[in-house]
Symmetry: C2
Subunit: 769 residues, 2 copies
Amino acid sequence: MFKKYFLISTMLVGATINCAAQQKDNLVQFVNPMIGTQKMGHTFPGATVPFGSVQLSPDTDTLSYEVDGKYNKDAYKYCAGYQYDDPTIVGFSHTHYSGTGHSDLGDFLIMPTVGKVQLNPGTAKNPEDGYRSKYSHQTEVAEANYYKVKLEDHNILAELTTTTRVGFHQYTFQKSKDSHIILDLMHGIYNYDNKNVWTFIRVENDSLITGYRQTTGWAKTRTVYFAMSFSKSFKSYGAKDFTKKEVYKGFWSKFDQTKNFPQLAGKQLRMHFDFDTQDDEKIKIKFAISPVSTTNALMNLKAEIPGWDFEEVKKQGQEQWNNELNKVVVKTEKREDAVNFYTAMYHAFLSPTIYMDVNKEYRGLDQNTHTAKDFINYTTFSLWDTYRALHPLFNIIQPKRNDDMVKSMLAHFDQSPLPMLPVWSNSANDNWCMSGYHSVSVVTDAIIKGVFTGDANKALDACIITANQRNYEGIGDYIDKGYIPSENNRTSVSNTLEYAYDDWCIAQLAQKLGRTSVYNEFLKRSTHWKNVYDASIGFMRPRLADGTFRKNFDVLETEGQGFIEGNTWNYSLYVPHNPAELIKTMGGEKKFIPHLDSLFTMDLPDEFFAHTEDITREGIIGNYVHGNEPAHHVAYLYNWTSQPWKTQKTVRMIMEKQYHNGPDGLGGNDDCGQMSAWYIMSSLGFYPVAPSSDRYDIGSPSVMNAKINLENGKQFVIDVKNQSQKNVYVKSVALNGKILNRLYITHKEMMDGGTLTFQMSAAPKLVKK
Amino acid sequence: MFKKYFLISTMLVGATINCAAQQKDNLVQFVNPMIGTQKMGHTFPGATVPFGSVQLSPDTDTLSYEVDGKYNKDAYKYCAGYQYDDPTIVGFSHTHYSGTGHSDLGDFLIMPTVGKVQLNPGTAKNPEDGYRSKYSHQTEVAEANYYKVKLEDHNILAELTTTTRVGFHQYTFQKSKDSHIILDLMHGIYNYDNKNVWTFIRVENDSLITGYRQTTGWAKTRTVYFAMSFSKSFKSYGAKDFTKKEVYKGFWSKFDQTKNFPQLAGKQLRMHFDFDTQDDEKIKIKFAISPVSTTNALMNLKAEIPGWDFEEVKKQGQEQWNNELNKVVVKTEKREDAVNFYTAMYHAFLSPTIYMDVNKEYRGLDQNTHTAKDFINYTTFSLWDTYRALHPLFNIIQPKRNDDMVKSMLAHFDQSPLPMLPVWSNSANDNWCMSGYHSVSVVTDAIIKGVFTGDANKALDACIITANQRNYEGIGDYIDKGYIPSENNRTSVSNTLEYAYDDWCIAQLAQKLGRTSVYNEFLKRSTHWKNVYDASIGFMRPRLADGTFRKNFDVLETEGQGFIEGNTWNYSLYVPHNPAELIKTMGGEKKFIPHLDSLFTMDLPDEFFAHTEDITREGIIGNYVHGNEPAHHVAYLYNWTSQPWKTQKTVRMIMEKQYHNGPDGLGGNDDCGQMSAWYIMSSLGFYPVAPSSDRYDIGSPSVMNAKINLENGKQFVIDVKNQSQKNVYVKSVALNGKILNRLYITHKEMMDGGTLTFQMSAAPKLVKK
């Protein structure tokens, strides 16, 4: 009999599907880390545990972000170090962002080789000129916390797994008196040639290396320490300093520092460790990192992987993954949908990353060592992206972690000299990437939803201080004039719009805490979006200091029009906190609905997207760019009109077009899980249009059934009747058997547990307004 | 009545001399920090406390040590940042070596200015082009822990004092709306343009700055943290990054980082802090440093100078100095002799420097934070120089500190990946400067003399491991062949000679600890000096691997002959541990005495000293170069002949010629106190020809009387009868009234307290051998 739907089973990938779900389903089998590794997904295929500090993954190339001070466009595709179409692997490095649209990291590249020692990586065209190797996707296996590939040029099988702070390498060599492990400290993602500030290596004994890498780049000043332990003593080792001009060699030259010299420091160092190997001999490496010191790195190493059992470490990491994935157990019609869903869950659980040693020490913004006494410290906050759906998702299925994330952001605030909550923070830095002060949305949402366990008033103070940081991106003007004059800021309109939403978040929290004057002030500020709306053209528009709107203006162009990663067609819809008022302002739904419709249907020539670098052409639907976040909520805006069925149709269409099981399965950068979080929420049938309200707008679930296992022990079930690829319309929704006469559910309803039952249909339910 | 001799008084400089010495004599008055600041002394005139971490001193210029990879000869005179003949002061920086022949440091330059903000230092020729200022020696006052000067271009009076870890600045401004304090993080001694690896600054509030400076250079990898506190809030501030090519500006450019932006990181930063000032308004700055973190720097600052009383801090530091100087209370014939003596004491008590925060944390060789649980951690070990007389002097008058210094060296050993005891260590680095492994001599001497309180056997093990470090400067060859073949090493002969002495030290300690096989092995090694002696010419000479002596050889040339900082005429006398055997080997005293005589009397043309850069021409007596250490013991070698009166005559002649009260008062680099220690010991009438023996050879005291106040509470008095400038010969010596029938005293005799009475005479006492 044809199996009409796909039930998550306990069996491994490739095994027969079993209809009987057990206590903990085997969900790891549905994770495909290769999704998004081709083109613009910017995900990495390597090994990591949930929210791990280490992302141990193959790099197929890296390019300098700038060449002679000019932006090098080609570097962009290497944000995560791996591009599916590349023919060679340079090696395996320990840190990677998932899905970002700018980059850094790629620390500590390891590569096993045989034959003549080569300390240059070589090129993809001529891998034999260096230590890199050809490989084939046929030999490649990518699972959650496991990666395997055959390095063809060296006839070495490479396997990778991890714990939170330790990468575990297993290399199977063949018989040779010339086997090597390369450690490349020059390697890094972006700014390959010049981002190293300093590196330091110590050969502590014949199987233990420690050191650090200090870089500048996206993170202005960043240091990662390491401890590297070999399963077998090396017989000799050597190093080369590739620095063009070394400052003062002096008495250091007493030693031959290229051979067996145990302490090295410089900007551009590469090392090799030499072994005799037998056929099928495995050399294993445990490689721990720390933000604090090599002492701590060694402590992390010993604490997390005391032995040498690679299989056991892999298994434990996969169990960790399985536990996390079991927070939502879905039934889907097709296996691909399950893969899409659990790979989205996997990607959503990669960032923010844990940034703290096992003894709870971490590096603060002031570059001093701090101790996270009563929380777990996280970093990698891509907040302009993740405030939208990722942190709201965490409030449902990762409240403990989101509490810690908010505490990490508040610790950042305490350490910031401005002070300010993070904008885009990583490794004790803020790189100030993108715009808004959306940490505010994450903080207030977590408090409003009861997730945050700290001092709410202090947190609100941090939000207020951040929102009043006059020197940051036009905030002063925004406060004084109610908008940012176009002359003063390149992205004056989108900033004004984003600030208005963030201010509304502050108002919501102030209201909850009974701080009326703050509420009044920020509720007023939350209406500032109106100041950049030009009723004469029906769009948000750059406004000059004198109050007039800018003359030259293109409603379809993205670049140079006052917006960031979006044109005004999209950004004019960015009032997530008050769609009703927006619709009224735009002339009522008679004008609003056609605007929204045409967003998804208009036929634009390619040149309009010449500047849209972080999505593939397929990532664009009409004028809607799903790979860029500003419009992530817009498909749900039909809920505020008389045509909510268009939300249902549109979100299903987006899920269908933008997500599939393949290396090119993401239409744009995954952006530290935001794209995936959008998919998870939409698949389940709801979406947080305005985080910090407790409302989740109903769309159209794509799953057949979902059990959300809440941390409070309760279960919230989404049961979808009459689900099919065609039945995208919601006929009715019932909460615990009672028909819901609204288009949203609340956070409390979900936290109380229960069942949300969707009745689906092939025909839209028409609402008269 | 003409005062025949000069008695140290309790009065201040310039006051009437008072003959009655009190409990603690005022000896600070005799310290003249200007001695050695002209030409090649390489001392600094600024403020510091004994063994202080901070040396706050004016820099009159700094030059890059290398220009386009080539040595820049002109940089050499700026080893301590100050040259007496220079017309301008660039500013005041916080760290300086005293008397070194290579350099580093000069961290954190502060300069007060008025008028237009200038962030360039300007040039000595055109100081008005930058922030530097003209000054005059007329307005300059340099005392122990106090420095004062008028900055003429800015009409600002600058005053400096310190505690161990904090520099205290006091600047008296006149009325202006344009007063500034410049903080220059680019400034540094040597490698001005390129030795900064990274710098970091945080404006914590309107009167507190923190940050760090990380450099490469003499110390390969070094970081100094700071906390800087102003007595008055600045009204505004700004910064400039002078980096030619900044890696990735990106979203950092959202902020105007040149004005009031509180967190900066980069390679080349300078800042200004702006004030309104009234007439005679004092702005004070407390500037603390730490090897560990800005947190620790701030802790040091608060612990050492809680208030703002400049006079009190100055007074306390001078009291510290007075206590240290009172360890030896001398009577001298002339005031100048007292100034020479106490300035020598002052210079001898500048290095090694304390390298540890008030909480006992310090940075180790592995760049991790360590805690000095049961000792005070020191750095700045110029051991090739200081093993000779400085550490032996400390064994007499600073045993507690020397114990800690040895413990610091052993901690260094524990942290060294080679492992090795320090060669020339500074700030958690070994710069491997000069040769030998003379830490061995310091360690064994301290143990043999009962000063070391740690585990003697473990210390001996460290010495043995160091002496067997085969990869270091020919040690492997030296062990295998008994000498270092000339082909393999540029300084093969001096290395062989120095290792032989160090090995003798190890043998002495092994004997004391009853480790016979070690004793036998190293006693044998201590005779290796014979393997480079060429009897056919009567000199030590480079020897080839095949056993023959090198053909082309010049006994007077210093460069390229197999020696370091000395020719063979000097180095042939370098067997400090066995002069008797040396004399025998050289053909008996009939050949030896003329060799020694001619060393001091021969008339050499200037070109012989073309390569001798670290001494002035006046620092050379015949072929004897007092400014270079290898011959520091040779004047005492006459004691092993029948003409000890020549030792007496010669040491008095050297004291007379090489030391005087004036900026040019040192004939060569003071070398972290070794030149001064030679003077102190020789002035008192004895010298440790071979540290690790307990013998101090008697020379000719220049003082009239000296009371050595030992830490054990006893007093050892040197009483010199019939002293005069002409009565340089020792007629007799009595210990506690009993005539001494030998030419030395022992360490034990000194430690027991008592009186050594010299009877002086204008005529030599002729001995028949």
